[in-house]
Symmetry: C2
């Protein structure tokens, strides 16, 4: 006979943990199935280890750009040890304890749907009284040609224990840019390849400033190039000059040098290659076929995270939910957690016979993101193109952040740029993109302005402190015409 819980969650990453926690707070019982480490990708192979690596890199860069500060340098071994500590040495005891304290049952093993409201975890059969929630996230999507040379993915790039002498990164998105910054600073000679520019989903100035920063740090940034062939361990392997503290291979599975042939006729040889070419949903092996859905697909959801394709007896949606990366709305940990809170609360409300009071309002129009490169990039809301496509009459306001006194104080010779998107009907902020040192913590003010739909003539009375970088807000509003 199956063990019955009100809610069964597949995947104990931050999203699944939030779903289960909110459901239990709402009076339900919850089990969570996890085949790897409780805590998920974010805790061990993404956000936490990557930022543990990148923060010392950023701090040294800041110090180097301040007259009156000298001598700051990285100790790569200690940076890696710091990363290990933030990744809890890839042990999940703390997360297991957290789940226990939250009253959530952890079931170890790969969870698979076995039918309506039924989940199989290894030999165990579980039944859900109210809902099953898919929070299995994503994994690296590696093109076959690259897969054949056993590349690093984001997992190895955030967990490797030795610094490759030469690292080539394929992909100019967030993972590619952040890992280029980290490993170059740690001592690798990094080559970063992109078919387009860098960070192409953001306004062009962001990628331009990050490319400048990476090049200043010594990265060989090659834009507009595609990989046409990849080989590993051939005669071109180059072992000469590998210094102490370097390894020809990092944490990856590869042995021997990798050579990538590019469509401009050139080639790159490195000791390791990172495939940072996108993400695929982890839904291939979770039994979607048992409920009539296509294995490997993204799961489209409504604003309570209920999977649209699964109907309920009442015609208002059914028992299957999907929160986090797997629904393809916004592939970011904080958005997964947000969706998890919405989802857990919605399931608990429906279990009480109530309509959910709080629905997802942000996953399509108010998604913030911080990219921890040198310089940093942060953004929230809609770009000009997105806003216009959504039918808004927009005005774009641009400002050089280095013209703000607080930015010049933050770093001598500060270079950065800001772009604000204003809805000319509603007179509210639809989006903002910032690129420059220290802009990561500046974006939440914009997130509040966007989510809060604060009119610009009220923002005028939100006076930024002098001399902080936040005085950028005054300059943007003045440039807008206030």
């Amino acid at each position: 006979m199956a063990d019955t819980y009100d809610v069964i969650v597949l995947g104990a990453g931050p999203t699944g943990e939030n779903v289960a926690d909110r459901a239990v707070r709402g009076g339900l019982t919850a089990a969570i199935a996890e085949s790897e480490l409780a805590g998920g990708e974010c805790s061990y192979w993404a956000c936490m280890p990557s930022k543990a690596l990148l923060r010392p890199v950023g701090a040294v860069a800041e110090a180097e750009h301040l007259d009156g500060v000298t001598g700051a340098r990285l100790e790569p071994d200690k940076v890696l040890a710091r990363r290990d500590s933030f990744a809890h040495h890839w042990r999940d005891d703390g997360q297991v304890e957290w789940l226990k304290n939250a009253g959530v049952e952890l079931v170890r093993g790969p969870g698979r749907l076995a039918g309506e409201r039924r989940v199989q975890v290894g030999d165990a059969e579980l039944a859900a009284a109210h809902a099953v929630v898919v929070c299995t996230g994503t994994q690296a999507a590696v093109p076959p040609a690259l897969a054949a040379v056993r590349p690093w993915t984001s997992r190895e790039a955030t967990s490797a224990h030795a610094v490759p002498r030469r690292l080539v990164i394929v992909g100019g998105g967030v993972v590619g840019c952040e890992m280029a910054a980290a490993w170059q600073a740690l001592g690798a000679q990094v080559t970063l390849l992109s078919r387009g520019g860098l960070l192409d989903r953001l306004p062009a100035f962001a990628g331009t400033l990050v490319a400048d920063g990476l090049r200043d740090a010594g990265v060989d940034v090659r834009l507009g190039v595609a990989v046409t062939a990849a080989t590993r361990g051939g005669a071109v392997a180059d072992h000469e000059g590998a210094g102490a503290g370097h390894a020809d291979t990092g944490g990856g599975a590869g042995t021997g040098a990798v050579t990538l042939t590019l469509d401009d006729g050139s080639a790159v040889t490195a000791d390791e290659v990172l495939a940072a070419t996108g993400r695929a949903p982890r839904t291939a092996d979770i039994g979607l076929e048992a409920v009539g859905l296509a294995p490997g697909s993204w799961l489209e959801v409504d604003d309570t995270m209920r999977v649209r394709a699964i109907g309920g007896a009442d015609g208002n949606g059914g028992w299957l939910y999907a929160a986090g990366d797997v629904n393809h709305l916004a592939l970011l940990t904080h958005m997964g957690k947000y969706q998890g809170r919405v989802c857990g609360d919605a399931i608990a409300a429906r279990a009480r016979g109530q309509e959910p009071a709080v629905r997802d309002r942000s996953s399509k129009t108010c998604v913030p993101q911080v990219i921890f490169t040198v310089p940093e990039v942060s953004a929230v809301g809609l770009t000009k193109e997105q806003a216009e496509a959504a039918g808004h009459n927009v005005r774009v306001v641009e400002y050089e952040i280095g013209d703000v006194a607080g930015a010049r104080l933050f770093e001598d010779g500060y270079t950065g740029h800001a772009q604000m998107i204003v809805d000319e009907q509603a007179k509210t902020i639809l989006g903002m993109t910032l690129a420059g040192p220290g802009v990561g913590e500046l974006i939440h003010a914009a997130t509040i302005a966007v989510a809060g739909e604060v009119p610009v003539d009220k923002l005028w009375h939100a006076v930024p402190s002098y001399p902080t970088m936040s005085e950028l807000w005054l300059r943007l509003l003045e440039s807008y015409g206030l």
Copy 2:
């Protein structure tokens, strides 16, 4: 015959500059009288030089608290040179050029009121068609006993060119705390004296964390003590041990050591003493008596910065305005600039026969402040006591910032505290106080929430990026009960 301008401004600090600039943008002519450097206290003897000193101090402290970063240290001579650069070597060419480009006439000399709409600047007589605006700011208020030993004030503390071996600071407010942090880091042995605690206008945790930080840096912090006597150059002067790079006197006028006797029976001897004991309005010598006001008084204003005591022919207020520190609303550069914008716009509107469209909404209820100590402190809006005194039904939410993942990534072993004041009727944020490394740039998000009157259930949809320190917002809202 007097030269006539639409608006005459006394004092070319940031406030006066903003008044004149906005008036000119509104179609008026404007003159500005300045007896010292155009740019004012902020540019040469306050915000800019102090933050130019403090930013390198903060950056080194951050680096010291990051595993994997080593070697960061200050070069005091270069920090002082950086400060000199940010203070434009106490030359105002740039500000003069700015005023010229803004279309504002600079009149060098001390401006004095000579009657209704009349100003004397040296030998020149000026007449104002519409308004005279007092923007003369404040100066250090030094108790007589301290004045007798020729102390540093904020001016010398921000402009001194040598590091005193021993510096004693009287006063535990913002100037005292910031200058203790700066000069201790630059090599002085600092003793900080306060009658009460530190930063007593803020919730107690702020002063406690700053005291801890100063003590960790080596400052001798003595709280609850008052100075009963001060002598300079007496037999107790102690010259032994003055190391290279130190001077027995800094930029101040004193010679010989200073000894302060305290009311706990102890004494402190130092090479220099900083009087950081408050501010007094610079209105003693501006001819207030010529318009029936008391010289040396603060000038009370309405929400367009019009001086209440001066009536107009229409009974709705007259021709005299006061913006910035001198009206005693909020003694901060950014608030002076804000008031200057409100004031210049209001004068221009009235000159067109219109009512001002934008009035001061923030100087009493939404004043942000950043204190650039190690750790930093930032605050905005009302404290619990202020909110309750204003009749609000408040709930206080507390959170340890070190429990936020982004804070732990920012500094290993992060220590900091946050307090949020919620209006339980309106369900909006009335105030926030933060203390901890890097909190300076976090406060503008709260300023937007307060000024924008954003309800907490909308703030819930302003998702902070993971893993930034701004995720503090999520934790505060969860702690509140969302």
